[in-house]
């Protein structure tokens, strides 16, 4: 099977990898680049655990091919905290106990980050619908929604 040589930017760093046509961006991140912070919950775009930000938009990385991100900017959970400081969303997830097992958390954080960039002052309903593509089986979503609303308020105050 033919392989593609791809150059992209992941969390600000240029990366180069080869991949087969059938390999997904999720496979590439986890296997080729050994960045395992992005999680595989289903492989069919139903659970959101593999959410990353691709050219500013949240995507299920299991539904993107590794070969189609040539020249793209990709943000993953590994790049969310900067300069030794957690992102406000990361901190609020901890403050509100918005994770239990934590395996869905990277996907939720990326989706919430993209949500707040598009809508810095969402209602509870907007947060719930904005996160409806991300499954969490542990928390019942209550504390996740609170964490996102609280992070939004803090980010607005500091904007």
């Amino acid at each position: 099977m033919a392989k593609h040589l791809i150059t992209a930017t992941v969390n600000g760093d240029e990366v180069e990898y080869t991949c087969r046509a059938g390999e997904t961006l999720l496979d590439v991140l986890r296997t080729n680049l050994q960045m395992t912070g992005t999680k595989n919950g289903c492989g069919t775009g139903d659970c959101g655990a593999c959410t990353v930000v691709l050219n500013g938009r949240p995507v299920n990385s299991c539904l993107v091919l590794g070969a189609e991100v040539e020249g793209a900017e990709i943000e993953t959970i590994e790049g969310m905290a900067t300069g030794g400081e957690l992102h406000p969303l990361q901190q609020k997830f901890l403050d509100h106990a918005a994770l239990q097992c934590g395996v869905c958390t990277p996907g939720f954080l990326n989706m919430a980050k993209a949500l707040l960039e598009a809508n810095p002052d969402p209602t509870e309903t907007e947060v719930r619908f904005g996160l409806a593509g991300n499954l969490c089986r542990c928390t019942g979503y209550d504390k996740i929604v609170r964490a996102v609303l609280d992070a939004a308020a803090e980010m607005r105050a500091n904007a």
């Binding site: 919950g41 139903d46 959970i77 997830f93 106990a97 994770l99 499954l135 209550d142």
Partner: protein, 763 residues
């Protein structure tokens, strides 16, 4: 917006009952935490499993030669590679661990017993090659008749899964193989007299479908074996000691040579308490001499790992007009899946246990069907039985015109009461829970058009059992706490809070870790709501052991007797008579002295925790039904639970909220859909529809603390009780909105719409 109380008692402790930072929190919000599939080692091979496309089929032959010849394939295995074991023999314990079944469930030998049953596996240098190789394995099947429904499977004309399984003590057909493995039951009083005494008797039939635990992380493990018989296993499990024991017995290996480390675990809810891919990874590693990682796909998780049992239940209860329950009788048939082992004992224990009922009988049938073998799911066996019993009780209350909380207060079990299976209650908090319901604004709030309110109570006797802990004092005065229980939902926070509280040390100076099977003694699984109770007790004991050793160091320093040294707030204190003459020594000072006074200090504890107390959980839920479509929306939800003592209240609330939402899914959406050939059709989250954020409201919580006197801080099990009564409460809300009894879960939109139409037509 609903008024949210999130009521919690005030804690007088410094760390216990307070919000403390989560020890594993930063790793989990930054992507550093390593789960089962996150371990990568040099030379690693990838395992993939071939599965039966038939619900029931004889395996005539398996030809692996073409797969073996594929470049990059390093080994192929079949069921013949797993050692055989004899069937377990009676008398059977309440929970059977049958290695005969375990081996055959991990990989079929002669017969595939369900769609998705593993039949072969390969190890290859890449995931893609391994998947390609599966297509080259030729299996010749003879398709057999199948059965999916537990009640039908229990009938004499049903296709039989196992020709060597006979019903254990149930009547005349014991000479004939049967899908019914056993019937467990219990009886008390005079049932006939009890029903004769009742003014109203209701008899109903309830059914529920199997539901999956739905953990977001599919099972994954990495096995590394060596020529000297050593096995290293990294796996996503609720109990690595149990995994070690099962694996070493199944594959006939020496226990100490099997060294298991628990990865971070991405949810379990009971589903990760047995083995699936681990023995396959070990065998493929032994065949290749290389590390082998095996990760299940989501469809494999649905097709081949254990859901909660589906059920068929006939139940009858009677009350007097004053609300006194006079009798209860229930029979329930549980789908065990392809091998025996559904939670029949828990069903019997659960049916009538919140109430003092003088006359009762309950029986539960463990029935094999052509579906994946069930596994534990959060209070295994209890939600289905509670759905039936609470459903009938709510209908009885309505018939006699009594408030649903009042009828429960009238019959509530108290200290000194005894469950059907003979558990004698110590101090329990059902009445306190019910009083909180009555006092809550939700209870009296008005409900709108097309809405209904539901209520149910659940009973759960949580686990105790074997646990261990080591509390290790470093010479700078910081502390490591090692236990053998995987942390699924924040238990490290609780272990740390209890150790810090005992030692009088700030939580930030205490680091809890999950130790591997070689580093601390045996600890049973993180299951049965037992970890904060039992392993917490071991941590407390081990911390107290450290304190005793530090008192001894102080005594030697001060040249007084150890029993004269007191410990308070992280300091060794001299007796009152010597105050002013001797200065107290802090834990940090004592830690620095220790290595010069006999050696490093650590405390240890290995216990078999008993004395666990029953926990009760009540749930109040409002739903709104769209009369056009039958779609049910959950509008308001309040959950009340006696937790004994909330060590980490944030995570206690999280357990309550998460359990409630799993119950919403169980009641409204989740079910397995099979085609006419017995193959599972909804093998992904798109069609197996679990609740998402937009489906649910904020879940209000009321933490009730009636401490269990048998635990130093009063802990009761927290994780399971929230699911016990959730499906019952949601279903009750739906039937109140619709206006007729609703007895078949899930209450999906088509079913609800049909009921609305029946009510409108006057049926």
């Amino acid at each position: 917006m609903n008024e949210i109380s999130n009521k919690r008692p005030i804690s007088n402790y410094k760390f216990v009952g307070q919000a403390t930072p989560r020890p594993d929190g930063v790793d989990k919000v930054t992507g550093r935490a390593r789960y089962g599939d996150d371990m990568i080692v040099p030379g690693m091979l990838y395992a993939k499993i071939l599965r039966s496309p038939h619900a029931h089929a004889q395996i005539l032959s398996i030809d692996t030669s073409k797969a073996e010849a594929l470049k990059g394939v390093k080994a192929v295995m079949t069921g013949a590679d797993i050692p055989t074991h004899p069937l377990a023999q009676p008398p059977y314990p309440p929970i059977i661990q049958d290695f005969h079944d375990l081996g055959l469930n991990i990989m079929a030998r002669d017969k595939a017993l369900y769609d998705g049953h593993a039949v072969a596996a390969v190890a290859a240098t890449s995931d893609a090659i391994a998947r390609e190789a599966l297509k080259l394995i030729a299996v010749d099947y003879e398709v057999l008749p199948f059965v999916l429904d537990p009640y039908k499977a229990a009938q004499p004309d049903a296709p039989v899964l196992h020709d060597d399984q006979y019903t254990d003590g149930t009547g005349p057909d014991t000479d004939k193989p049967s899908n019914v493995f056993r019937v467990l039951g219990g009886e008390r009083g005079d049932l006939e007299a009890g029903f004769a005494d009742a003014d109203v008797v209701i008899e109903r039939t309830f059914t529920s479908e199997p539901v999956h635990q739905g953990y977001i992380e599919p099972m994954a493990c990495l096995a590394t074996t060596s020529e000297d018989g050593g096995v290293e296993l990294w796996t996503s499990t609720q109990g690595h000691f149990v995994a070690r024991t099962l694996l070493s017995k199944l594959l006939k290996m020496e226990m100490a040579k099997v060294w298991v480390t628990a990865s971070e675990i991405g949810g379990g809810f009971g589903g990760k308490t047995t083995l699936y891919a681990e023995p396959i990874a070990v065998i493929l590693s032994q065949k290749t001499g290389r590390p082998v990682r095996a990760t299940l796909t989501r469809p494999e998780v649905f097709r081949a790992t254990g859901p909660a049992a589906g059920s068929y239940c006939r139940i009858k209860m009677g009350v007097k007009n004053d609300g006194t329950i006079t009798a209860g009788e229930a029979d329930i048939w549980y789908q065990a899946g392809a091998f025996k082992g559904s939670p029949v004992g828990r069903a019997v224990e659960t049916f009538f246990s919140p109430y003092n009922i003088p006359n009762m009988r309950a029986a539960a049938y463990d029935v094999c069907v052509n579906r994946p073998k069930v596994a534990a799911y959060r209070a295994p066996g209890a939600p289905m039985a509670t759905f039936a019993a609470e459903g009938v009780l709510n209908e009885l209350a309505e018939r006699i015109g009594m408030d649903p909380v009042e009828i429960r207060l009238k019959n509530a079990v108290k200290e000194g009461g005894e469950s059907l299976k003979g558990h004698k209650h110590g101090r329990i908090g059902l009445i306190e829970v019910l009083e909180e319901v009555k006092a809550h604004p939700h209870y009296k709030a008005a409900i709108g058009a097309n809405q209904g309110r539901g209520f149910a109570v659940g009973y759960w006797l949580h686990g105790g059992g074997l646990s261990s802990a080591s509390v290790i004092l470093q010479d700078d005065g910081t502390v490591s706490v090692a236990t053998g229980n995987p942390d699924i939902g924040g238990s490290r926070s609780s272990m740390r809070a209890m150790a810090a509280e005992e030692l009088g040390l700030d939580v930030e100076l205490v680091k809890p870790i999950i130790a591997d099977t070689g580093s601390v003694p045996y600890s049973y699984q993180t299951a049965g709501s037992r970890t904060t109770y039992a392993t917490g007790m071991a941590v407390i004991n081990a911390a107290r052991d450290v304190i005793d050793k530090l008192r001894d160091i102080a005594a030697r320093k001060w040249e007084i007797a150890t029993e004269d040294v007191r410990w308070d707030s992280g300091h060794a204190l001299p007796p009152d008579a010597r105050k002013g003459d001797i200065e107290p020594l802090s834990l940090k000072e004592l830690a620095a002295m220790a290595t010069k006074m006999g050696g490093a200090v650590a405390g240890h504890s290995e216990i078999n925790a008993t004395g666990q107390g029953a926990a009760f959980c009540a749930q109040l839920v409002d739903v709104e039904i769209d009369p056009e479509t039958g779609f049910t929306a959950t509008k308001r939800y309040t959950i009340f639970q006696d937790v004994g003592r909330a060590i980490s209240p944030d995570y206690v609330e999280g357990q309550m909220q998460g359990g409630a939402v799993q119950g919403i899914g169980w009641a409204l959406n989740e079910e397995y859909i099979y085609d006419a050939k017995g193959c599972l059709q909804n093998t992904g989250f798109l069609d197996y529809r679990m609740p998402v954020a937009s489906d649910v409201p904020m879940i209000d919580t009321v933490i009730v603390e009636v401490p269990n006197p048998n635990h130093p801080y009063g802990v009761r099990g927290v994780g399971e009780p929230p699911l016990v009564s959730a499906p019952a409460a949601v279903a009750n809300a739906v039937e109140n909105a619709v206006g007729k009894p609703m007895s078949n879960l899930p209450l999906s939109s088509p079913k609800v719409l049909k009921a609305i139409e029946e009510v409108a037509a006057g049926n």
